[in-house]
């Protein structure tokens, strides 16, 4: 199945680990293993804090596994540091060995969660689903929101669904005075969205539902150009709106598992 979106070849996602390794090597060369392991332990601890912020924002339970893994790994590095001397074989006390086992087990658990898409931001899947039945059309893009339709939903249902939307990493939600804005978030784009206090979501791709039920859609140029071809823009916006409304209805009916089924059926690469 050829996807309508281009594959994501961006290396943003692996920049943090690459940077960490480079810093570790640099410090190791200059100051030896003790300082290097402590430095790397501190970097990993910092990652743990950032990932916890993501958990706090989304309440996505599997993110906690990442946090625990980072904390364990960081503790391991701190615990190993005093026992490493160049030229001598390291001897690790029992608590270090326990930490090694825990780290390895958590690592493999994370790999499993990744392959089962439990840690994946689903923005790419949503945009792929939106484009599924949309035909090609040149020169139809315009950078402004489109009011699409109206839904019959209570404020309580809308807020509930919004929390679910974030919790399942479908994207981020912004609550405004009179409406709720759903922003599908692609994997590797979460750093700026989660950690930049001045992040301007108005310019990104979003679907807004106001408390009167009016639905409007905005498609960013970047996401539009991420498709292989120019798609009929009006149809694409309406389709994205329909996808979110469909998800909302499934959630209200208690069939939220179908939301994940639809997204999984897009078969987007787990690392994109």
């Amino acid at each position: 199945m050829r996807h309508k979106q281009k594959p994501d070849l961006d290396i943003k996602g692996i920049l943090p680990p690459i940077t960490s390794v480079l810093i570790f090597i640099f410090v190791f060369i200059l100051w030896g293993p003790y300082v290097a392991f402590n430095t790397l332990g501190s970097i990993i601890l910092l990652y743990a804090i950032f990932i916890f912020i993501a958990f706090y924002r989304t309440r996505h339970i599997w993110t906690l596994v990442s946090v625990i893994y980072m904390l364990t790994f960081s503790s391991l590095l701190y615990a190993m540091a005093p026992h490493l001397t160049i030229g001598y074989e390291p001897y690790f006390p029992p608590h270090v060995k326990i930490l090694i086992v825990c780290t390895v087990l958590l690592f493999w658990w994370l790999i499993y969660l990744n392959f089962t898409r439990k840690l994946k931001w689903r923005g790419r899947d949503i945009l792929e689903l939106a484009a599924y039945h949309v035909e090609q059309a040149e020169g139809s893009f315009t950078e402004r929101p489109l009011p699409t339709s109206k839904v019959n939903v209570t404020k309580h249902e809308l807020d509930d669904f919004a929390h679910y939307f974030q919790k399942k990493l479908l994207g981020l939600v912004y609550w405004e005075d009179s409406r709720v804005v759903f922003m599908p978030l692609k994997f590797k784009n979460e750093y700026l969205a989660l950690y930049n206090p001045n992040y301007n979501y108005h310019e990104k791709t979003w679907v807004a539902i106001n408390y009167n039920g009016n639905v409007s859609v905005n498609f960013s140029k970047k996401d539009y150009l991420d498709y292989w071809e120019d798609l009929a823009f009006d149809a694409l916006c309406n389709s994205l709106s329909d996808v979110i409304i469909d998800f909302l209805q499934l959630y209200i009916e208690g069939k939220e598992v179908r939301i994940i089924d639809k997204l999984d059926s897009m078969k987007i690469n787990v690392f994109t």
Partner: protein
């Protein structure tokens, strides 16, 4: 009186010598341009222009006299009340009588940027770049609330065009705002942001 005439008269009346010339006209039976200019210490051409304009609009009357070698004009007051009266409704009758039986939608590849209002439910401004490359200039139009709602519901370039009335209906805009809607449609059409079908 139309806008142009009113503007011309007002321009002359706003000159700092206007009051002085009228004082002379009211004081004298009649007066020539050179007499007025010498009395007031103003250049004769300036006074002549002023008096000719006032005569053209029947505020002052002029009489040709041939006392010396060359005939010249003497000016006296004709109207003791100067009124500038513009019937705005008549002047801008095309606003209410403008036909709106055409279909519109956004033009393709306009590059226009629509900025959202705070509540995110209509547009507050539209920015259009006029010209090419480095010489392009930014033109930013602040929209009224009705205009902002109207443009929010403007069909996309690849959507079915709609009439002004249909879009106003969708956007729930009062009929009394129609003239300002037609004004912005006209302006954006001239700037090639909107297509008329």
């Amino acid at each position: 009186m139309n806008f142009k005439e009113a503007a011309k008269i007002s321009a002359y009346l706003s000159k700092d010598y206007a009051e002085k010339i009228f004082r002379l006209i009211m004081a004298y039976q009649d007066i020539s341009a050179s007499e007025a200019a010498s009395r007031l210490g103003i250049h004769i051409r300036t006074v002549q222009d002023f008096l000719e304009t006032m005569a053209a609009y029947d505020i002052i009357k002029k009489k040709e006299v041939s006392e010396k070698k060359r005939p010249y004009y003497r000016y006296s007051i004709m109207k003791k009340n100067i009124e500038i009266n513009i019937d705005l409704e008549k002047e801008f009758s095309e606003l209410t009588n403008n036909p709106s039986d055409f279909l519109i939608k956004e033009a393709r590849d306009t590059g226009a940027k629509f900025s959202m209002a705070r509540n995110g439910e209509y547009f507050s401004t539209v920015t259009i770049w006029i010209g090419e490359g480095r010489k392009s200039k930014e033109r930013k139009i602040s929209l009224t609330t009705a205009q902002g709602y109207f443009l929010y519901f403007l069909p996309f370039p690849d959507a079915q065009p709609l009439s002004v009335d249909e879009i106003m209906d969708k956007a729930n805009i009062n009929e009394m705002n129609k003239s300002e809607i037609l004004d912005i449609v006209d302006e954006l059409y001239n700037m090639k942001v909107i297509d008329k079908v």
